[in-house]
């Protein structure tokens, strides 16, 4: 009787599983149903799968691993004859995923504008090329996208959500043991975490700021070719790239070892907020090549001086206008004008990338004119404030004169005791 009871219980569990177990698809999915009842590594995929985007689209384990999801019997459901693959080899994974993801007709069922080029790109990437040689150490689809709990890119919990991308890449690329045999550095993630781009992502709420994939590509990942570095940075920093490409540095930096273009001055992963300290001073980048006395060195010093000068002038005007504003003077027009001045400062920094001081001089002059103009307005407002105090002094003086005059008048009036009645028993009231 015992075995019968076991089978009965098992059958009952199977029958009831779709109703009892959470996250089950209304359509029969015996894979998940059965594996959920197991333990450890055999149970894990079934537990994770309910969060998977494939699951939410009605797909099941069998759609990747092969087999028959409608059959209860293990030997039927997991029959190699029915296409069951078991756990695929790492080198076979991209091919497996691309069975669907490169099929435009199939993907078109799920969204009207699917991407189907990921596998093609992957094959051009360093990861794809090495995998083709049998190196199982490199990234495949599941290393970046995770497996069994794959989420859409725009889901903040996805491994490929912009904020999570650096960590995902860093799982291998920041692990010196993992990367030991490739001879490339593993400090990129640490450097990136100090960068202005990471800051923009995390503190500036700017999801358009670049992550690893933005510059290196994701499926076709490789370091940008030396000549194309400014094209990469120039995707966002358009005007800077245009100015740089016209400049004298462009042909020279293309030959630079270890990466050229923008990277020569700004570095690649740990990009810091630029400032005039890059142009002149002990940490200057220019002096790495240019002598202080050379044309280049002098140009750098001149431009640094102009930017600092304009910044200081604008700050001064801002201070004066603010103190006038605080004293109740109306200076909003000038404060608006000041933002035009700040714009000229931005344009000057932009022009710097032509490395030609003449180009920078125009916005600097315009900015200085605005700083001067707004300073005058602020100072005029402060003068008006003082005028009010003088107005007060005048009217106070008039009042004082009147008071003094009344005082003397009273003294004169009362000289002979006039205006007083002596103490008497006749009180006028009471």
């Amino acid at each position: 009787m015992k075995p019968f009871r076991v089978v009965l219980t098992f059958a009952a569990a199977l029958f009831l599983a779709p109703v009892l177990l959470p996250g089950q698809q209304p359509v029969t999915d015996t894979c998940v149903a059965c594996h959920s009842a197991l333990v450890d590594d055999l149970q894990k995929p079934a537990t994770l799968f309910k969060d998977d985007i494939h699951s939410s689209k009605g797909l099941s384990c069998a759609d990747c691993h092969g087999g028959d999801r409608t059959k209860d019997d293990m030997s039927v459901a997991m029959d190699p004859a029915k296409g069951f693959l078991g756990k695929p080899k790492r080198t076979a994974i991209p091919q497996l995923c691309s069975r669907c993801h490169s099929d435009a007709k199939f993907m078109g069922k799920f969204r009207p504008q699917p991407r189907v080029d990921q596998f093609t790109l992957y094959k051009t990437s360093i990861h794809g090329k090495r995998l083709a040689t049998g190196d199982e150490n490199v990234a495949t689809c599941i290393d970046c996208h995770s497996v069994h709990d794959i989420r859409a890119v725009k889901d903040p919990r996805a491994t490929v959500y912009p904020l999570n991308v650096p960590h995902t890449c860093g799982q291998c690329h920041a692990d010196s043991k993992h990367m030991a045999k490739y001879g490339i550095p593993t400090d990129q993630l640490d450097k990136y975490h100090t960068s202005v781009h990471w800051n923009a992502l995390t503190k500036g709420n700017d999801l358009s700021a670049p992550t690893c994939a933005s510059c290196h590509g994701n499926h076709g990942a490789k370091p940008p070719e030396v000549a194309s570095v400014s094209a990469v940075c120039g995707t966002c920093h358009v005007s800077f790239a245009q100015n740089y490409d016209k400049s004298i540095h462009q042909p020279l930096f293309s030959e630079a070892p270890g990466g050229g273009g923008c990277v020569v001055c700004h570095t690649n992963h740990g990009i810091q907020m630029p400032s005039t300290a890059m142009l002149s001073g002990p940490k200057a980048v220019c002096t790495q090549c240019h002598d202080a006395a050379s044309d280049g060195g002098k140009a750098a010093a001149e431009m640094a001086g102009w930017v600092d000068g304009l910044d200081a002038a604008l700050k001064r005007s801002e201070g004066v206008l603010m103190s006038a504003d605080k004293s109740g003077m109306e200076v909003s027009e000038a404060q608006l004008r000041l933002s035009d001045g700040r714009e000229n400062l931005v344009k000057a920094k932009l022009a710097m990338h032509t490395f030609n001081p003449d180009e920078m001089h125009k916005p600097i002059l315009a900015g200085m004119a605005i700083a001067d103009e707004t300073l005058k307005v602020g100072q005029a407002a402060l003068r008006e404030k003082n005028y009010r105090r003088w107005g007060l002094a005048v009217s106070s003086l008039l009042i004082a004169i009147t008071l003094a005059a009344i005082w003397f008048l009273l003294r004169r009036m009362e000289a002979g005791g006039a205006g007083y009645r002596p103490a008497s028993t006749h009180a006028p009231y009471r």
């Binding site: 009217s395 009042i399 008048l409 205006g419």
Partner: protein, 358 residues
């Protein structure tokens, strides 16, 4: 016709129609006792003068102020920065409000310490106490009108305290706020209170108060025998002196407005957290601080309710001063009243200072 002839003709024309001669007679005979405490007689006049300043500056401000949540702050900024001498009118209004309340308190305590509340001046005292309460209401309602962070949250705190009055608290708070929260309804009704309701009541009470002062004359402190007191003619002697004092007060107001302009603050943001250390204006600080000190429960009663009850008892008791501050024979209980008065003044001053620094 000469200037003098024109004057006499006009005077007699008016005299036929208005009781001018009666008024002139009265003024001619009105005198003010001259003694060591005479200087305190000026304080009533200063209070009246400052009230007049409030009316004039308030009327002027109403030409530009807009009592809606969307526009009030900006309209005050407009007055401060765009309107010619707007900064002057607004700062005088704000400074004068504070000086008015201070001087009103000085006036009240000087009357208490010179025992001028004795018969037949009980009604004068009572109307004066009512006026003091009205001035505080003016201050509370006017404070909200610029709709900046401090005024918004101070009003919130104030109406919350009102809400904890036993029995009528909730209804009272709803009446004040015009709803469950301080918002646009509050601003509208505080504006109505401030510019019409309270002025109407105050105007009537001031008229009554002044009339009573004229009919009962100036009181002499009990320690000075009537027979030993010189009388100064009110017009022109005392009057000229009073004009000097009023002019001086005006000069002080102008200086305060020009050198310490009243600040605009930041526009009220009900969703921001209350500014740190938010507290009411100085004239409410003593009561505010006292309430803070009372433990949450006193015996079986809630602390705040005990505090409010205490203040109510104190206020009513002080208002009834003319009745317990005199003996059956009508003599002032000088020692008792002076003692209690000194205690009250010290309490108010100390707790105001404490409330400011804590």
């Amino acid at each position: 016709m000469t200037a003098t002839e024109i004057k006499t003709k006009t005077a007699s024309w008016l005299d036929e129609r208005l009781p001018l001669s009666a008024i002139r007679e009265f003024l001619d005979h009105k005198t003010v006792p001259v003694h060591s405490a005479t200087r305190w007689y000026y304080f009533g006049g200063i209070t009246l003068f400052l009230f007049g300043v409030q009316i004039v500056t308030g009327l002027l401000l109403m030409l530009y102020y807009r009592p809606t949540v969307a526009e009030s702050f900006d309209s005050v900024r407009f007055i401060m920065t765009r309107v010619q001498f707007g900064w002057l009118v607004r700062s005088i209004h704000s400074w004068s409000a504070n000086l008015l309340i201070f001087v009103a308190f000085v006036h009240m305590f000087s009357v208490a310490f010179t025992h001028a509340y004795r018969r037949p001046r009980e009604l004068t005292w009572l109307s004066g106490i009512a006026l003091l309460g009205l001035m505080l209401a003016f201050g509370f309602s006017g404070y909200l009108l610029p709709w900046n962070q401090i005024s918004y949250f101070a009003t919130k705190v104030g109406t919350d305290v009102a809400a904890s009055t036993p029995i009528v608290g909730e209804a009272l708070a709803r009446f004040l706020r015009g709803g469950d929260d301080v918002g646009s309804a509050t601003l509208t009704r505080f504006f109505a209170f401030h510019v019409i309701l309270l002025p109407m009541i105050a105007g009537g009470l001031v008229a009554l108060h002044l009339l009573l002062v004229q009919t009962s004359g100036m009181s002499t402190p009990p320690w000075i025998p009537e027979s030993r007191v010189r009388q100064m003619r009110f017009f022109p002697n005392f009057f000229l002196r009073e004009v000097m004092v009023w002019y001086g007060a005006l000069a002080v107001l102008g200086a305060l407005a020009a050198i310490f302009p009243w600040e605009l603050g930041e526009k009220a943001d009900p969703f921001a957290s209350a500014p740190k250390g938010i507290r009411p204006e100085w004239y409410f600080l003593a009561t505010f601080y006292t309430l803070k000190l009372i433990p949450s429960h006193v015996w079986i009663f809630e602390g705040e309710i005990m505090g409010l009850l205490g203040f109510a008892v104190l206020a009513v008791g002080w208002a009834l001063l003319p009745f317990w501050g005199v003996t059956r024979a009508g003599e002032a209980r000088t020692r008792v009243v002076t003692g209690i008065g000194v205690a009250l003044v010290s309490y108010l001053i100390t707790f105001t200072i404490l409330g400011y620094y804590k």
